[in-house]
Amino acid sequence: MSLKKAVPFSEYESSVHVYGRIWMALALLLMIAAPVAMCVYFDAWPDGVYLLKGLLGVAPMFWTVGIIEVLTYAPMLGTSGTYLAFVTGNLTNLKVPCALNAMEAAKIKPGTEEGEAISTIAVASSSIVTTLVIALGVLGLNFLQPVLESPTLKPAFDNILPALFGALGAVFVSKNLKLAVAPLVFMVVLFLLVPGLSKSVGILVPVGALIAIGVARILYKKGLLGGKDEKAAHADA
């Protein structure tokens, strides 16, 4: 898989990068302005040593995860979807599955211009609904807290990820069985052997992706996935 000459961006894509960067820069400024405002208002700046100690406890892990997430999810979400989804957060448990489901339901392929439009609409809709639900929930917390924290509902909230990835897996695995077998078997065996890894599943997403891409490339070159190289493979045989 050799890197070919860079493909130039379309005019539309370039414009997305311009306004995407403006929004992203504003978001970054606001994120940093929030703790600054808190320190000024309460006249309480943290001690540099404690701040550094705290950062050393989380940054090596979460900065790495952040970079991995960009490299993994940006191709799925498309340019404008990425600019928006990374500001609104909750990627793995919400925005990425939401975008995938929207493209699948609309029968539009990811990585295309149409896919990017649908993915961005899905992420935007999801962000607005999520922000409003949390805001309404916070405002009505006295009423909601006993219901949400009731022991009866606890198993349902404990099982959001199995409920999400069971259905999503059924769609994508059944569609791409040949591609799915290797990363699935690898991950199941890995988690059986090292259960503690469930706390850092984010880091394993690109590992699964690399295995799937490697297997896909081999199968594609052998002409087992259809497409361009199929004829060549049959000719070789």
Partner: protein
């Protein structure tokens, strides 16, 4: 100013940033809808994408709200509300807050009570903020190069581009499906996530049959949220039987 983790000022800061996030979402939604129409995507598809994505987000949003509630027990409501509405996820925010508090001698995992020292609170706010910014900085300065790299890898071979995208999805799905097996050594209750996932997959298969055989095309957009809700509801009796 006297310090209070639930002060009106903190609500004001949070409110301003939440308004920004909604404005950004509306701006991107407007641009994407315009682009979708330009590309010939039907109004019906656009409308159902908006509706089904909103519906799909309801349950995970409630779960995020639960994260806000759990964090609010020691850092008040506004800060976790802000953090979980923008960038963050509870899997990051909780350990970040706990680590920042621990560096100043406060163990929030054992002794859950509201922070009263403003210096501990601002330390937590800074660690939560700075510890998660790598993704945003990389996108701000590097997304164009990353996308260019993707264009170069897929090149003109459209079929390989499609396969590459499928492989990326499957990488993510396989990691999370694999994670469901991490607890099975603990005995029968450890199988609960797998059974719930299988129920969800079975519900999706039923939806697939209804869409194809009974021509229920409308179900296509809503199958995932319905299957999720169904499997979550089933997880209540399943947990009862298997615990």
């Amino acid at each position: 100013m006297p310090f209070d983790v639930n002060s009106g000022f903190l609500y004001l800061v949070t409110g301003m940033i939440i308004v920004f996030v909604i404005a950004q979402s509306l701006f991107f939604m407007g641009k994407a809808v315009k682009r979708a129409k330009h590309l010939g995507i039907s109004r019906q598809t656009i409308r159902s994408t908006i509706l089904s994505s909103g519906l799909f987000s309801l349950v995970p949003a409630v779960s995020i709200l639960l994260g806000v509630i759990s964090l609010s027990q020691f850092i008040g409501l506004p800060l976790p509300w802000l953090r979980l509405s923008v960038i963050g996820a509870v899997t990051y925010e909780l350990p970040a807050a706990a680590t920042a508090a621990a560096t100043m001698g406060v163990d929030v995992t054992r002794n859950v009570r509201l922070i009263t020292d403003p210096k501990i609170f601002t330390n937590i706010a800074w660690v939560m903020t700075l510890g998660i910014l790598s993704g945003l900085v990389l996108i701000l300065f590097g997304l164009k190069k990353i996308q260019n790299g993707m264009h170069s890898i897929t090149g003109k071979d459209k079929r390989w581009g499609d396969i590459l995208m499928d492989a990326l999805f499957l990488g993510m799905i396989s990691a999370f499906v694999g994670m469901l097996f991490s607890q099975i050594r603990t005995g029968l209750p450890g199988f609960i996530p797998i059974v719930v996932a299988l129920c969800s997959a079975a519900l999706m298969a039923i939806c697939g049959i209804l869409i194809k055989k009974c021509k229920w095309a409308w179900l296509e957009q809503y199958a995932l949220p319905l299957c999720m809700l169904g499997a979550m509801a089933l997880s209540i009796p399943i947990t009862g039987w298997m615990s």
